[in-house]
Amino acid sequence: MTGHRSLARAPADGSSAGRPRCSRRAGASLPSRALLLLLLLASCDLPKRHDAGVPEPKELSSRRIAVVATTGMIAEAAAEIGGDRVDVRGMMGPGVDPHLYKASEGDVVRMASADVVFYNGLHLEGKLSEVFERMRNRVRTVAVTDGIDRGRLLRPPGFEGAYDPHVWFDVTLWMEAARTVEHALSGMDPVHVHVYRANGERYRERLSALDRYVRDRASVVPPSRRVLVTAHDAFTYFGRAYGFRVRGLQGISTVAEAGAADIQALARMIAEERIPAVFVESSVPVRYIEALQEAVRARGFRVRVGGSLFSDSMGDPGSPEGTYVGMVRHNIDTIVAALSVPGEPGRRDGAGGGDR
């Protein structure tokens, strides 16, 4: 019976306690043994109350807090706010689309040994968001978007409870997210509240400076040309916050595809409004935007590819775009540089091989 007890209780104990005991159970590989284990598991031994497993505050004040964050943006916020009180490990590195993240074995250990998991929520991480919600009894998990007033979230018409998860493109919303991180850390480790508050304050100040920067830069673009055309619908928050109309080629879902009519409609709009540039995203194949560009050119207008924007993840670590601030600055600089120059008419039978 000991085997089954240890297994059943291990989750409740928190994984650090479960580890040594379970290491004896390497024999679980045999299917018969596994079945036996399972039968035992299913039998009626009473496990502990599930909320008993959340780490005690006392324990955390004396060591660094192990933090796991899903996206790079969240990892950065946690590292900034936690300072040297935390060990942050990001799950999704640069260039990883959170919708399509493939977990590796290391994630199991990282998540099991974490004191807290910060995730975006709002289904950005797919089904995983749900799992994180349900995990709260086991490891402390925090959706950084939880603190945001639901009224400020974008909601596609017709579906209850489904929100656009790409909140980080509105810097003010991201400040809310950072506050959620700060509160979570403070709650876990009240002894060091002052550290988190000071770090959080400093981080939010930088973010609010960033917000002002984005606003300033955006105002350079004449309002009529403030149209952001990208491959997928990730920039809606950005558009709302900084006064851009946003048009995406395809929806949020990864299975969704564009139709020929969608491309034509977008191309017509670009040509009619003489929008000078469209943008590619790091995580979406360039060809999508190239197709749009071709369609526009065929309408006698030349639209440039204004550059590459970071949408779901940040740039290489060490580069300026490898930080949240750097990424947002890169995006707005790219957008402004491309849109503030007026568009040039193309020839219908243009050099770029328009029609034929």
Binding site: G18, H50, G251
Partner: protein
Amino acid sequence: MTAPQIEIQVIAVLVAVSCALPGTFLVLRRMAMMSDAISHSILLGIVLAFFVTRDLTSPFLVAAAALTGVLTVTLVELLNRTGLVREDAAIGLTFPALFSAGVILVARYAGSIHLDTDAVLLGELAFAPFNRLVVLGYDIGPRALYMMAGITALNILFVAVFFKELKLATFDPGLAAVLGFSPGVLHYASMALVSLTAVGSFDAVGSILVVALMIAPPATAYLLVDRLSTMLLLSALLGAAGAVSGYWVAHALDASIAGSMASMSGLLFAAAYLAAPGRGLIPITLRRSRQRLEFAQRMLLVHLYNHEGLPDAGRENRVEHLHEHLKWDRSFAERVVGAARDRRLVERRDSLLILTDAGREAARDAMVG
């Protein structure tokens, strides 16, 4: 090992066992690709159920996915029944249509929602231990564990109860019908079970591992054994072995667990393909060369016997001459002579070859045969 690590392996083993059973029948009945077809077509069910419930977390979505699996199987079967298209074409016609309908619905009515199969089925073994089942406030373990245990039990029960009928329906559907076993009903029951197992397992471990575990272990077992019962058992064992070894490969590489398990199942198959006793490529090649050698020895004996005592024996019965007469290359001739000498059928005096008594006996046998 930490608790989640153990849980992952237990879940994987359960998936392996529950996939091996229907998988064996799929492989034998040439419907292996059904598993992959289901993995695509369930999108339609998920989307339709979402339009009804408007809730991504509703368990109704998973039920709808399973139902779509059954629908897929039924449509394939209907197409088959017409006799106008073959089984593989029937599968290839069905799932793209269902999947495409799903995609169109998403694009038209839910393009701004993250709605796809991944949003409803977890499909990631690494996270399965964290998706807990909480009953009356008590955490009693990973959901997937219970779900897979239930599905495994159902599969084992089904196979155990209908073993005879399944066997008959698999190998001779016509005879089964004559004997009144109604292969149709059994077929639908087993296909419903395939769908249920597939969708349940997709949720626990992801579609690609399910396809791998439904096909690779039974195919491997098919190379190794001839009896249905041993094949079922061996499939389950091989699946479990692939799952557990795959886990540790993933651990070592810090890579995808499902991917590693699928790859290990593939490696097990490759090993059997190369080395299965009697059927593997290596044993066949070895046997070919051994038989060639054995056969050559007999030819040698007969040749020596025919020329023994004749005046030309001094010329004919030399190693060099074998090269010309029997068109053997020199090294092969040496090998044949060496092997025959080891068996004490031939002696060598200088370069002349002489039969021993045993060799003479063997030569006579060879000629009679």
